[in-house]
């Protein structure tokens, strides 16, 4: 409970910092929108119309009041923020969840396999190190080139018909998911693998071997319990990281998530949209942290008792 409260406090802190910070940015949504040749009088008029001429603290105050009433405000483009976000947040979450569902077994399997078998380790660890070292837009670009442009197996862009979820045309999900998966996998495998290596190298496991324990026993009684808490943390946080961190991948595939919106709203200084997105991503991340804490406690019997 205390953790939730702390997280809430942090969220308020974050929203305030971003609000004031974005307000101080040189980019002005009105000038950006009206273009090169709007007269200063016209800019002032539109600013006043949007309420941008009020002091920043006053605007933050009314924003907070609005959010508490479930109103995310109106974008500088004149549209309600909630309607701009509704579908996109869902799509981004979908992308993360699908990726995560694949990431969990794959990262765990590969990592343990790498820790277990030296020959597999060279390939898996090497691949992970390489993938971790190449920018994701290069990974995504290479995937498009191979699977869409050359082989024609999959669509190059994630065009999703209006009013339907990406799930209705699953093929558009494949390449974005694969791009995110490769990036996340590289990271998760590295962390989980070394965790498993550590366990396997422990005197306890040596002792188990000496006592004639089977591979299965070692895996189930030593490796799994020790590695799982780490893995759960990695998965949870990677999953949430996908929601906000998929900006580059969403852009490359034209995926209708929040990534693009995030970039464009920050660049045009569209404060209400930035605020709403920071609030959602921040809350998701802090929530995941709390969940991860609980997961650690639940997965470690002695800790569970101590509580």
């Amino acid at each position: 409970m205390r953790e939730l409260l702390t997280s809430l406090g942090l969220l308020v802190l974050l929203s305030f910092a971003v609000f004031v910070g974005v307000d101080l940015l040189p980019g002005d949504p009105v000038t950006a929108r009206l273009g090169a040749t709007a007269s200063p009088a016209r800019i002032a008029e539109v600013r006043a119309h949007l309420g941008l001429d009020r002091p920043v603290l006053e605007r933050y105050g009314s924003w907070v009041v609005g959010v508490l009433q479930g109103d995310l405000g109106v974008s500088a483009s004149g549209r309600p923020v909630a309607s701009m976000l509704s579908d996109r947040v869902g799509n981004s979450v979908l992308l993360s969840v699908v990726t995560l569902v694949l990431l969990v077994p794959l990262s765990f399997g590969l990592a343990v396999w790498a820790a277990w078998q030296r020959s597999a380790d060279r390939v898996i660890s090497g691949g992970a190190l390489l993938l971790v070292s190449v920018p994701e837009f290069v990974v995504a670009g290479a995937l498009v080139l191979v699977f869409a442009v050359s082989l024609r197996w999959l669509p190059a862009v994630s065009l999703v018909p209006v009013g339907s979820s990406p799930l209705s045309t699953p093929s558009v999900l494949v390449l974005p998911v694969l791009s995110l998966l490769l990036v996340g996998l590289a990271y998760a495998v590295r962390v989980i693998r070394s965790s498993a290596v550590g366990v396997l190298a422990s005197p306890h496991v040596e002792f188990m071997w000496l006592n004639g324990a089977s591979r299965r026993d070692v895996l189930r009684q030593a490796v799994l319990p020790a590695v799982l808490p780490v893995a759960v943390q990695v998965w949870l946080v990677t999953g949430v990281g996908f929601v906000g961190g998929a900006v580059l991948v969403e852009k490359m595939f034209g995926y209708p998530g929040i990534g693009e919106l995030l970039v464009s709203s920050v660049r045009t200084g569209d404060l209400p949209v930035v605020q709403a997105l920071v609030l959602i991503i921040g809350a998701a991340m802090l929530g995941a942290l709390v969940l991860a804490d609980w997961a650690v406690v639940l997965l470690t019997p002695r800790l569970r008792v101590a509580r």
């Binding site: 971790v132 920018p135 837009f137 962390v191 396997l200 949870l236």
Partner: protein, 379 residues
């Protein structure tokens, strides 16, 4: 029942074994020495650091000491958590962690831990010796660094010189979309990229170290506000800061800002162990100033942790700098991230212009990852 015992045992021992290998090694063992934070706190620490890294970069870093607090908590509260912590910290050691527990490296480290416990004062020197030895072994990253830094002086053309038609095969690597020599731009682009990343990493780790030390010395809650920063993906921090400061200083600041929460956690975790040690208590009793104690008694003992963290922040910086270029936020005249972005539209016309900087980035990142791994092993 048997499962429970197995879990506890495995975790406990696993932690010990693994701890020997990694940067935060000392932490796990000394966890007992000092009051530990609550288990929840410990779990949190580990997670938070994973968090920031999730959007890639530091990925590997998680490790750092982020996890060490868990280790510490583990000492006092629960071996299970410690297992999680120690092991995940190991992630930092990454691909090269020896798999067999009986490897000479492990044994050396274990022995070293005993030495250190006995003669903490000499530990700093031992660490320096190992660093020198390590540098000798790790000549190639240094050679690479040197090469990148002097390359601009050797480049056949200036970065902005137009030497021919766009996308021609003129010169060793051809020309780019404006007819500039790709080889020259590659040679000019390495230095700013590496220096920017280094500066950002140094600033982030430096500030993180300071905050981590203060947190360890005084109260851990000075770390809490930084959780707010850690909750924002690195790429968003970059977007926000770069919109305000669209220049090199902006990139340095953005990357540093994104690194601070992670570095602070790592350093805090490592320092918290050291501060409880006898020689530090001794110094306190002698009436030394706080700054002196932190600088002379604490910092040398956590030096490798800080260095390993620096390496990971560097990799993170390399990515964020490249991502800034990709999103059109970078305004540099030539750095590798920008070269990749500029080459993307014409990739089919001039693939080398794209591949050269990508390979450059990959080589730098792989090297930095490996160096960070190695530094971790020297602990």
């Amino acid at each position: 029942m048997s499962r429970d015992v197995g879990a506890g045992g495995a975790a406990d021992l696993g932690a010990g074994g693994a701890a020997g290998l990694g940067a935060g090694g000392a932490a796990g063992r000394d966890g007992l020495a000092r009051d530990a934070a609550s288990a929840g706190d410990a779990g949190r620490a580990g997670v938070v650091s994973v968090a920031g890294d999730a959007d890639r970069a530091g990925a590997v870093s998680v490790a750092g000491g982020a996890v060490s607090p868990e280790v510490r908590a583990g000492g006092a509260v629960s071996p299970e958590v410690r297992a999680g912590g120690a092991v995940s910290r190991d992630g930092q050691a990454g691909a090269e962690v020896p798999r067999d527990g009986g490897s000479p490296a492990t044994q050396r480290t274990r022995r070293h831990r005993q030495d250190r416990a006995a003669r903490p004062e000499q530990d700093g020197k031992a660490w320096q010796r190992r660093l020198v030895a390590g540098l000798k072994r790790g000549w190639w990253p240094l050679a690479l660094l040197t090469l990148i830094l002097i390359a601009p002086e050797l480049a056949p053309h200036a970065a902005t010189d137009v030497v021919g038609l766009p996308y021609s095969t003129q010169g060793l690597l051809g020309t780019d979309h404006l007819g500039r020599d790709v080889l020259s731009r590659l040679m000019h682009g390495g230095r700013p990229m590496v220096l920017t990343s280094l500066a950002a990493a140094a600033l982030g780790t430096g500030a993180g170290t300071l905050i981590g030390l203060v947190a360890a010395w005084w109260r851990p809650f000075v770390l809490r506000p930084w959780d707010a920063v850690a909750a924002v993906p690195g790429i968003l921090v970059l977007l926000l800061v770069l919109t305000a400061m669209p220049n090199r200083a902006g990139i340095v600041f953005a990357v540093a800002l994104a690194s601070v929460p992670l570095s602070a956690r790592v350093v805090h975790a490592a320092a918290a162990q050291v501060i409880g040690k006898a020689h530090v208590e001794h110094a306190k009793v002698r009436g030394e100033r706080t700054a002196w104690i932190l600088g002379r008694e604490v910092l040398p003992l956590i030096g490798t942790t800080v260095l390993a963290d620096l390496g990971l922040r560097f990799v993170m910086a390399v990515y964020l700098v490249a991502a800034a270029g990709f999103l059109g936020l970078s305004t540099m005249s030539s750095d590798w991230g920008l070269l990749v972005v500029e080459a993307l539209p014409g990739a089919a016309l001039q693939p080398v212009a794209l591949l050269a900087p990508v390979v450059g980035i990959a080589v730098v990142a792989v090297s930095a990852n490996r160096v960070a791994d190695r530094v971790g092993e020297w602990a």
